[in-house]
């Protein structure tokens, strides 16, 4: 029985962690290229959830359901990309050569702006995310339940991460991204269009956030304008835990965080659900500041 409960928690933790991982990837990619934390990323995620909500009511007549879900997901990803590119163009690009702290503060400003703007537009009331796909148990044991949404969440996340891995390591664009990440000035001297590469990094990060928002909405159908705050913080912790700047690290960090939360609630108390994430952050910063899979950057004085 305890083994069954353990496996059940493993399943639940994996599904929760996959969403964190997808959001964490957005933090880590922007950090890898620009060395600043894009705090507005969590609000891109939140806007994605609302975008998905409206798209779902607009596309309600489309059948079959998997096609409808695919359309909603692609539409939401596109919407998030447009918002993120607008933010990048208006708020971040003018500060490309400014001190990093200025960009960081701008990011916090953009985050607050997006949260309060959506409170005005969508209202402070939590809204119900439609169940685009009906929840069906795939494995219905007496003690272990596995449903289609959980499989979908983990499956889609893995699929997107594999695509991301392929883009970064096996395409010309990925090589350019890594070059910009290594040294932006030298990369630009080598003829790499750095602005374009940076914009593309935002495209990837925000489309991952958009897909994460849909997966989140399917699992926890309650969305509100401040939805991104906690998830953003947790995903940020996941990114730091895995080693900020490391794509593999963000994926691993997200999953570990999801599992840690579920096991904490099950074995200790629900009051520690949020505390555990930040305890992990503190411990990793003390023990291994570069993160699990991060590398130390040597700075010449």
């Amino acid at each position: 029985m305890t083994l069954h409960a353990f496996i059940q928690n493993l399943i639940n933790g994996l599904a929760a962690g996959s969403v964190y991982a997808l959001v964490a990837l957005g933090y880590t990619m922007v950090y890898g290229v620009l060395q600043f934390i894009n705090f507005a990323h969590s609000d891109i995620f939140m806007l994605g959830a609302f975008g998905g909500l409206y798209l779902a009511s607009w596309l309600a007549g489309v059948h079959p359901q998997p096609l409808q879900l695919a359309l909603i997901m692609i539409g939401t990803m596109a919407f998030c990309v447009i918002v993120a590119l607008t933010v990048e163009r208006i708020a971040y690009r003018p500060l490309r050569n400014a001190p990093r702290l200025n960009v960081l503060i701008t990011a916090i400003g953009v985050s607050l702006f997006l949260e309060n703007l959506s409170q005005v537009v969508f209202g402070a009331d939590p809204q119900l995310f439609p169940s685009i796909i009906k929840t069906v148990p795939l494995l219905e044991g007496d003690d272990i339940i596995l449903n289609n949404i959980q499989v979908l969440v983990v499956g889609v996340s893995l699929f997107l991460m594999l695509i991301l891995h392929w883009i970064v390591h096996h395409t010309k664009l990925g090589t350019a991204m890594r070059a910009v990440s290594f040294d932006i000035q030298i990369a630009s001297l080598m003829g790499i269009p750095t602005d374009l590469v940076i914009a593309f990094t935002f495209v990837i990060g925000s489309s991952l956030a958009g897909s994460a928002a849909i997966l989140y909405g399917l699992s926890y159908p309650k969305i509100e304008p401040f939805l991104g705050v906690m998830i953003g913080l947790k995903a940020f912790v996941a990114a730091v835990f895995g080693g900020i700047g490391s794509i593999m690290g963000a994926a691993v960090g997200g999953i570990v965080l999801g599992l840690a939360e579920v096991f904490t609630v099950y074995y200790i108390s629900s009051s520690f659900r949020d505390a555990i994430a930040f305890a992990i952050l503190i411990v990793i910063l003390l023990v291994r500041p570069q993160g699990l899979l991060g590398s130390v950057r040597k700075v010449k004085v």
Partner: protein, 389 residues
């Protein structure tokens, strides 16, 4: 150096003295000012937005209806009643701010609110401090009226509500094992869970699991995994409808087959919107049922329907009752000072409200029966039974 510092200091001290005397004078004039006004001002604070928005909106509709009806028959002592309403967004800190504003800026004679006990407790302390009577329509946690002699309520309290559901689970449903999933951030939920647990055990049942969540959580699967392992026949969730809906949904996904029970925090049309068919079959205690055959209730339901085009829920009925108790007290009160209003409310005896006969006892609570409702479908709540104190 000395003179440079001294001068502004002296000026500051002088202006402070002026300000302070001004304040004192204003306060002293308060009572006569309130009595001489051409209208009677009621203040209302509630969660018009936020995760418990339907509570505030329903209560507001009940209050507005009661006040309009009173005004159409001439008001109180020749004065029309006006209600000033503020939204506290479902946050205790905002509740404190709005009540302070109602008292110090709008200078209301009486305050109506809140639904959630955490916010009534936070803001009630302010009302008590300024000695302005406050009537909570539906905060059931005992601590609310324990604040002081100016804080009242027109509903039953959680020791009774908890025992109602424990009695119902044991005697009507014949179940012996229960699990509890409580919201540790809400005074209401913690109190109700404790009273349910002690009464259920006293009656010979066993509470096999007692777990918690926090207001705003969305994932309850870990708690539900733990609960499912203990195989309780009933799961008591004394929370608010947003989380309860999500919990019910996830409980169904986790294949938990027991019966779900709850309190008046379930009373919202959003409960079935969020919970869907997962919440159908659950039972909760409430203040009244619109299916009650009592002509007072039916008359109220008809008037409310023709005004707002919807069936009033328990919170609308409680809001209405809080307002008519206040209006009745104002009519009986010798003057419209806050002391006079307070004494008149405290003397409310056998007053016919929509949710039952209201008598305010020495603890400033109302002693009333509770009804048990069954969730029957999309925004459909069937009357099951009435349990008397």
């Amino acid at each position: 150096m000395f003179s440079i510092f001294f001068r502004p200091c002296g000026f500051l001290a002088l202006s402070l003295t002026v300000l302070l005397t001004g304040c004192i004078k204003k306060n002293a004039g308060d009572q006569t000012e309130a009595a001489n006004r051409t209208e009677l001002l009621f203040g209302e604070y509630g969660s018009m937005t936020g995760p418990e928005s339907t509570f505030g909106i329903s209560t507001h509709k009940g209050i507005i209806m009661a006040v309009e009806e009173a005004n159409s028959t001439g008001g109180v002592k020749g004065k029309k009643i006006r209600v000033i309403s503020y939204d506290d967004q479902g946050r205790p800190d905002e509740a404190v701010t709005t009540v302070t504003k109602l008292i110090t800026q709008d200078r209301v004679s009486l305050i109506l609110g809140e639904v959630a006990s955490s916010r009534s407790i936070a803001a009630g302390a302010i009302a008590q401090q300024y000695k302005i009577p406050m009537i909570s329509p539906s905060s059931t946690n005992p601590k609310v009226t324990e604040i002081g002699e100016y804080i009242f309520r027109v509903c039953f309290i959680d020791p009774f509500q908890g025992s109602v559901m424990a009695k119902f689970a044991m005697e009507s449903l014949k179940y012996k094992t229960a699990a509890i999933l409580r919201d540790v951030k809400a005074d209401y939920s913690v109190g109700l869970a404790n009273f349910f647990a002690s009464d259920f055990t006293k009656r010979g049942g066993t509470v096999v699991a007692d777990l918690s969540y926090s207001n705003g959580d969305v994932d309850f699967k870990a708690q539900l995994t733990a609960i499912k392992g203990k195989k309780p026949e009933v799961l008591f969730i004394p929370g608010y409808y947003t989380e309860v809906g999500l919990i019910a949904k996830q409980a169904k996904e986790m294949n938990y087959k027991g019966v779900l029970l709850g309190g008046d925090g379930w009373d919202s049309e959003k409960l079935t919107e969020i919970g869907g068919d997962a919440i159908v079959g659950g039972y909760f205690s409430n203040h009244y049922s619109h299916e009650d055959k009592n002509p007072v209730v039916q008359n109220f339901v008809t008037r409310y329907k023709s005004k707002f085009g919807e069936v009033p829920n328990g919170l609308a009925a409680m809001g209405y009752d809080a307002a008519i108790v206040a209006i009745d007290a104002a009519k009986r009160s010798a003057d419209l000072s806050s002391k006079g209003l307070r004494d008149a409310i405290a003397n409310t005896k056998n007053f016919q409200g929509v949710t039952g006969i209201i008598t305010i006892n020495d603890e400033r609570n109302a002693i009333k029966p509770a009804v048990v409702l069954k969730v029957a479908g999309n925004n459909l709540y069937q009357y099951v039974t009435t349990i008397n104190p």
